[in-house]
Each structure stands twice: as structure tokens, then as C-alpha cells.
């Protein structure tokens, strides 16, 4: 892991036998301001290729904004984002071919059936029909959605909607997966299935970035983690390095602070 100070600009070294491997995602001084609020305050982060990377942070930490800027959905005010050495904002089409995105808090084309939505995502990427059809069938089966393939997405439950969005992000076999809150409202069985899929994906050389505020999940699932709060990276590295012997949750609370040890509420114990 490398952790550069905010604002440091630089070009990635061209891949070669002598140079270090190109990171799957490299953020350099990314910053974004909404009106008076600085949402992201110069985040720099390298995600090594082949890692399972967790991004954790309290609500409003800037996780979603950072990931949106890294994936070409939101133009940063400052900084660059490189996907396997390709600049997202200079060469968006090339960069977008390399990654699959599960954005948080955006709608889907929910008047399509689940099957149609994933097919649509594949066709938009310019894939040929046979490949799309076979992959859609496999993805729906893997995510336990095949019994609802023909149901309109608008009638799906929240967890099913997450899963169909994940399938849309996977259809073109990207080298990097950026998943914003992928396990929110997903039932435990499906979550376990998704974890299996992601583990195998990482084992075969893919890179996964997930954001979450479930520390336990990140500690069990990821090999790397970055703690983000107030638009800055507080700590980043392998999970072992960051948690430094404590549990990730305790370390997170220690880093971010803000636990209030409330006195009072005694009446709550009086019944």
C-alpha cells in the first residue's frame, strides 16, 4: 500500500518489467466541493491489482463521492483517477471498459424486467447477443434471481434490486469492480453467495473495491482497507496493518472518534 499526501500530482510509471505493477485504481489528490461543503478533501489512494479493498467511513464521510469521481460518474474539482494506468477523465471510454460499477443511491431502469435490465447493460457495452444471453442466464442463476427473471425490477424487493444492479455491473467481465454498499438490505444467504462470487473473482486476478459501514464484514472479507472520514483518508493499508491488533471496529471508532458516552436515560431502566 502507498499513501500519498493530498495534492501530490504525478503520472504513473508505464508498465514494464522493472517498474512496480500498475495499481488497479490510483487516486491522486481527488477533491470535490458542493457549495460551501467540502465533500472530498484531497484523497489519494492506491488499490493494488488483485486486492479485495474495503472503504469504510461514517455517514457523510465522502465514500460515495470519492467512488463516483473514481468511476467517471462525477467530475472532480481537482485530482486524477487512474484505472490500470488509464486516466478516467482523459480517456473515459477506455477506463469504463475496464470497470464494473454498482453506484449507491441511483435509480435503475426499473420498468424493464430483471433479465432485460442486465441484457441492456451488456448491449450498451457493445457486447454481442449470444455472449450477453449466456452470461445473463448464468448471472441470474448465481444470484438466485432466475425465478424472478421476468418480473419488472420496479416490483423487486430492495435486496433483489441490489443484486440485479450487481449483475449489470458484472456482465462485461471487468478487471476492476467498484461496489458502493453492495450488501445493504441483501439477505444473509444472498450475501454469502455474492461473497463467494467476489472471492473467486479476486482469486482469478480481479480487483474489488467495496464501501461499507459494516466493519465485521470488511474485516472478514477484505485484505486491504481504507478508513475515510471528513473527506480524508485517515488510514489505509492491509487489514492487519490498519487494525493493528485491535478489531477493525474498535480501531475505526478510535480513528474517527465521536462516540458519545451519554449519561442519563436512567428512566429507561425504571419501566
Amino acid at each position: 500500500m502507498t499513501f500519498q499526501p493530498p495534492g501530490q500530482q504525478g503520472q504513473p510509471a508505464p508498465p514494464g518489467p522493472s517498474s512496480p505493477p500498475v495499481p488497479a485504481l490510483s487516486l491522486l489528490g481527488l477533491a470535490k466541493r458542493f457549495g460551501d461543503k467540502i465533500a472530498v478533501d484531497g484523497i489519494s489512494l492506491d488499490v493494488p491489482a488483485g486486492s479485495f479493498y474495503g472503504v469504510v467511513g461514517p455517514n457523510g464521510a465522502g465514500k460515495t463521492t470519492t467512488l463516483s469521481m473514481a468511476t467517471g460518474l462525477l467530475r472532480p474539482d481537482f485530482g486524477t483517477a487512474l484505472i490500470h494506468g488509464v486516466d478516467v477523465w482523459q480517456h473515459p471510454l477506455e477506463a469504463k471498459k475496464l470497470m464494473g460499477i454498482l453506484p449507491d443511491g441511483v435509480r435503475l431502469f426499473d420498468r424493464l424486467s430483471g433479465e432485460q435490465l442486465v441484457t441492456y447493460a451488456g448491449l450498451l457495452r457493445g457486447m454481442d447477443r449470444e455472449m450477453v444471453a449466456s452470461r445473463v442466464a448464468e448471472l441470474l442463476a448465481a444470484l438466485d434471481l432466475d425465478s424472478d427473471a421476468g418480473t419488472l425490477v420496479v416490483d423487486y424487493s430492495a435486496g433483489m434490486t441490489k443484486k440485479i444492479a450487481l449483475a449489470s455491473a458484472l456482465i462485461h467481465a471487468p478487471r476492476l469492480l467498484v461496489l458502493d454498499e453492495p450488501f445493504e438490505s441483501v439477505d444473509p444467504i444472498s450475501a454469502a453467495n455474492i461473497r463467494d462470487i467476489l472471492d473467486r473473482y479476486v482469486a482469478s486476478g480481479g480487483t474489488v473495491i467495496v464501501s461499507s459501514h459494516v466493519m465485521d464484514l470488511v474485516q472478514r472479507m477484505c485484505d486491504h482497507v481504507a478508513v475515510v472520514a471528513g473527506g480524508r483518508v485517515l488510514a489505509a493499508g492491509t487489514v492487519e496493518e490498519v487494525r493493528a491488533g485491535a478489531s477493525l471496529e474498535d480501531r475505526f471508532v478510535q480513528l474517527v472518534g465521536g462516540r458519545n458516552h451519554t449519561e442519563g436515560l436512567e428512566w429507561l431502566r425504571t419501566f
Binding site: 460518474l73 462525477l74 471510454l93 435509480r107 420498468r111 441492456y120 448491449l123 416490483d155
Partner: protein, 523 residues
Amino acid sequence: MVAHLLRLKLTLLRNSVRRSPWQLVGLGIGALYALGIVGVCVAGLFVLRGVEIELAQTVVVLCGATALLGWAIIPVAVSAADMTLDPARFTTFAVPMPQLLAGLALGGLIGIPGLATSLVALATVGTWSRSLPAAAGALAGAVLGVLSCIVLSKVVTTATAGLASSRRFKDISAVAFLIPLVLTGPIVAGIARGIAGSGDFLTGLARALSWTPAGAAFSLGGELAAGSYAAAAVKFLIAVATLAGLALAWKLLLQRALVTPPYAGTSKRRTGGTGLFGLFPATPAAAVAARSLYYWLRDPRYAGALVVVPLLPVLFLFQGSQSGFYGPFQFVGPLTAFLLSWSISTDVSYDSTAFALHVATGVRGADDRLGRALACLSFALPVVVLFSVGPFFFTGDWDKLPAVLGLSLGVLFTGLGLASVISARYTVSVPLPGDSPFKKPPGNVAQTLAVQFGGMAVLMVLVAPEAALVAAQFITGSPVPGWITLVLGPVLGLALFAVGIRTGGAWLDRRAPELLAQLAVNR
């Protein structure tokens, strides 16, 4: 407890206004509108004081029955039931049932429809202030009648809550509601003619209704004014029994609804195949076209526009048959071309943040533009040609056909091209996905108006050559400009269409993330 519920309703009303000054403006406009209608009704009811009892009784009873019908149907039909005091929100508070019912019923009076109905009903006291018993009867009738209206409305909305919360019902009712709205003119004309022709029938209808729950309450004043005390006593019993029966029904329905929340059941479907996605070529532009076509069919916000289209010739034909002049009817083709082509100027705004998929997949701007335009064109072209040719079968003025057809095609292609440019750059505020097409959209109204009217002005300029040629033929009577239009319209239109797709595509390639950010503001 009843007072608590009423205070809650008032607080909710006040807070909804406090959220933005525009809410207050909206409420003010609604109140003014209602005040105008109430004023006319009240004045009319006082005028009825001077006419003979039979006529006044007919009007009052029929209007009362109509109000009852309106309170029963309208909240369900427009999915606009006043849910500020949704009984489901009180389930955890253990409010005793009688107090809950009384509080909710009286709470129904607070708000524009409740107040307007109450005021008009009380004005019937003015109609029957011919003697003390008659006025007292009218007052009792007004109270019973208004309460019946509100309780009936609660019964209907509670009974259909499960139905009304299902997406399919919302979709269909929102679109179906448009049909009578568009045809208001012909319907009102038809009813007016019917009333003019059958005064006796209405008197009979009112007399019959006054013996039923629908009209008993509002007939009390008239019966007492006519001196038929026995009939009045029976009708009073009918009215009281009606209110009691409705209240009982409401109580039973509510008791059941409170423990069985509505379940928007949906049928699982294993696979529907990929439909149009399998039929169209496997290219990004064709995929966008297939997706857009599904939205034209499945999304009530689009389908609403489609429902209006077949009604257009009906309206113009009706207008022509009334006046004997079919001039405007000849131009139903260009008008339809304008409406349909312009409808895609809000396409990206309708997508809302689902547009993120297009940004994330890196679909080329030109493919996005072309797909949306082709989807619209696939049904707009045949419809526009049909509507351009059709009217001439009625008018027989065939030498104007080339001009009108040329203008239609010119407007259609130019409009699609221009709309492709506009929706690549500007968003407008539209109802969000899943909302009723009638719901007031969130967001910047001023920008919406500027974009829409500015765009239409540009469109006028772009189709000016065709329009000028059509005018030339209508003025000079020479067929030559018409034939030129028939050639010029499609040629110029297609050229502008191509320019529009390319320009819009280039803008989208450069600014798709900014467009997405604008859409995200109103999600």
C-alpha cells in the same frame, strides 16, 4: 384525543407550507380556485331561494348526490387521497377506535376540498330560508350530507388501500384519468345538451334519488319547505342511517386494515425472454431504442402522452362537426408531429438517476441520442402520416395534402433533432419515476419553462421554411408551394435530424457527468 388529531392535522398542513414558499403559493392558488368555485355555487344556491320549490329541490339534490359521488371516486381515481392522517401511522399508538374515527373524520374537513364542500352545503340553508323548519332541515341535511361525503371517501379509500397501493393500479388509473380530462369539452357539451333536452327526466331522477342514501340528506330542506313533514321525517331517518352505516363500515374496514397492512402483491415471472432486446440488432443504439420503447409502453408518464394522441383527432373532429369548419382538423398531423417529437426533449429528465447506467457503461452520446429518437420515430412516423392523410377523407380538399404532409414530416424530423440536442444539455423538472404523471414535479420550475418555451421558439424558426410554403399555398391557392413542401419538409427535416443527433451526441460525450449531477439534484 379528537382535539389532538385535529391539531396534528393543522400542524402537518402548516409544516408542509413552511417547507418552501412555493408550497404556500400552490396552496394559495388552490384556495383561490376553490374560493371562486365555492363563490359561484353559494351565489347560485342563494339565487335558488327565489325559484319554485320543485326546481330548487332538483338542483340541490342532484348536486348533493354528485358531491357524494365525487368524494367517493376522485381520491381513488387520481391516487391523490389525503393521507396526511393515514390511519396506518396510528397503529403503534393505541388510540381508542371511536376517538380515532371522529378525529379522522373531522380532520377530513380541514383542507381545501373539505372546507369547500362544507361551505357550499351550508349555503343550502340560504336556499331553504323560506321558513324556520325548512332552514333547520337544510342545516341538519348539510351536516349529515357533508359528514357522509367524508366518511364515504374514507370507506372507499380504506377498502381500496391494498388495490390503490399496487403499482399496476396506479399506472392504469393515472393514464385512464387523462381520457375524461382531455375530452372535457365534448363531455360537457354532451351533458349540457342532455340536460336541455330532458328537464322532466332530471326532476324524476332527483325525486327518486331523494329517497336513497345518495340524496336523502340534501332533500330535507326542500321537503320541509313544501310542507311534507312525514316524508321529511323518513328521509331524515334514511340520512342518519346512511351516515351510521358508513361509519360502521369504515370502522370494520379500519379495524381490519390496521392489523393487515396492504400488500402490493406481484406475480413472479420466471422469464419473459428479452423481448425487443432480442428482436432489435445487438448494438448500443438499438438497445437504447428497445429500452425507450418499453418505457413508452410501461411508464405512465410516457403512456399518458400516448393516450392523448388518438384523442386529438377526436377533439378536432368534434370541434369541426360543431362549427362546420374543418380548417384546424387538417392540421392535426403537424400538431401530432410536434407533440410526439417534442416529448423526447424530457427523455433524460424522465430517466432520472437511472441515466447513471448510460454514463457508467460509456455508451457513445450519438448512440444514446439516436436510440431514443428512433424509438419515438418508430411509432410517430406511421401515426403522423395517418393523421396527416386522414382528415382529407372528411374535407376532400386533396390538393392541400402535399403541403400538410410535408409540414408534418418536417416538424417531426426537425423536432426530434432539436429535442435530441436539448435533452443532452438541459434537464427539466418532471414527475419522478413511479410518481403519478399529475404529481407536481420537484425542482426548478423557471428553468423548465425557459427550456421548454425557448426550445419551442427555436423549433418554430427551424420549421419556418415549410410553414411559409404552406401559408403560401393557403393564401395563393396555387398547388406548387405544396409540392415543394412535400420535398423540402423531409429533406430539411432529416438534415436537421442528423445534425441534432451529432450535436447532442457530442454534447453528451463531453458533459454526461454534469448532466447526471443535474438529475441527481431532484431524485
